[in-house]
Amino acid sequence: MAWDLDSDRPIYLQLVERIQMQIVSGAYEPGGKLPSVREYAAEAAVNPNTMQKAFSELERSGLIITQRTNGRVVTDDVELIRKIRDELAQEQAEVFLRKMAELGLSREEAIGVLRQIGGADNE
């Protein structure tokens, strides 16, 4: 299945976000091998050059590492993966709080809503 991409933002950025998500969520394990640029590009139905650009970006952040003989792997630096996951979680939390503020809820009230849902799920 081709990946769903927004039409108004650079494609490579969206690929970076998608692959980051796959790594922090554990779909690709620390130290695990990643598909090749071509395989990934075919899966996403995007240009291989754009996928290459996304990979370069992820290499710069240290999340993926190119090994001369073994292709590309996810970093085995679990700390780094956790740090990036926390950053992404924080971004999402900010988005949530901003939307709640638009609805007129204070931060406390918004957190209350979260607790309520979280509590209901645990029952």
Binding site: A2, L5, S7, D8, R9, P10, I11, Y12, R38, A41, A42, A45, V46, N47, P48, N49, T50, K53
Partner: protein
């Protein structure tokens, strides 16, 4: 980035109408480039000059440093905007025809692509649906090992699933040392696979930039930007 195609001061008129008007452009290898413009903007005329099918009134084109002519025709794979194959031939006969014509044609590759689509190569072209006919012609072109692939409206008139197949075939089969030029007005369908775009209007070059540049600078898709630039 090494340039594959160099176009300098290129012009072509039909009577008093200038179809291509003084275009200069350098295109690199290894990229998939969209040639975009409204109807009658000169896209097909430019493509035919790249293929040596039309002679420019003025200016020059070189491909890999060689002026367009017999020397470049063997290195350029062209998908015209209309069918040119004899309908009464079978696909196998057409494959043999391509083997005779093009030293860089891989019959094995064409057969395996046909098999992946479940198209029987022993049938006559006239029995194929429009979508399958388009796919067969694309397979013929992409089974060559060319320096330049020029695809004129490869996805016009086929359904969305067939478009996806065609675009995927282009991505999977083009050689990273080659350049692919795709002319189309179905921009939203192809923009995910394009590196760069060339906008043409009234035979002039309007813009040559990368897809991500347009998205970064204007915060909109190439399709939306095109509608803005060419608003009637």
């Amino acid at each position: 980035m090494s340039e594959l195609i160099e176009i300098a001061g290129l012009s072509k008129s039909y009577g008093r109408v200038a179809a291509v008007n003084n275009i200069s452009l350098k295109l690199p290898k290894g990229k998939i480039i969209g040639l975009l413009g409204p109807n009658g903007s000169g896209k097909t005329t430019l493509i035919k000059m790249l293929n040596g099918l039309l002679t420019p009134d003025a200016g020059s084109i070189t491909i890999g440093g060689v002026p367009v002519g017999p020397g470049t025709m063997a290195r350029v794979a062209y998908l015209p905007d209309r069918t040119y194959l004899a309908e009464s031939k079978t696909i196998l006969q057409v494959l043999d025809f391509f083997c005779d014509f093009y030293a860089d044609f891989s019959k094995d590759k064409a057969l395996s692509l046909l098999a992946s689509l479940g198209i029987d190569p022993s049938v006559k072209l006239k029995t194929l649906s429009k979508g399958n006919k388009e796919k067969v012609q694309l397979i013929l072109v992409m089974s060559r090992n060319a320096d330049l692939y020029v695809l004129d409206e490869p996805i016009a008139g086929v359904d969305p699933a067939a478009r996806d197949y065609i675009l995927r075939t282009i991505i999977d089969n083009y050689n990273p040392e080659a350049c692919v030029i795709i002319s189309t007005h179905l921009i939203s369908d192809v923009e995910k696979v394009l590196d760069e775009v060339v906008f043409m209007r009234y035979g002039h070059l309007v813009l040559y930039t990368s897809v991500d540049n347009i998205r970064e600078q204007h915060g909109k898709s190439v399709d939306a930007y095109f509608r803005e630039v060419f608003a009637c």
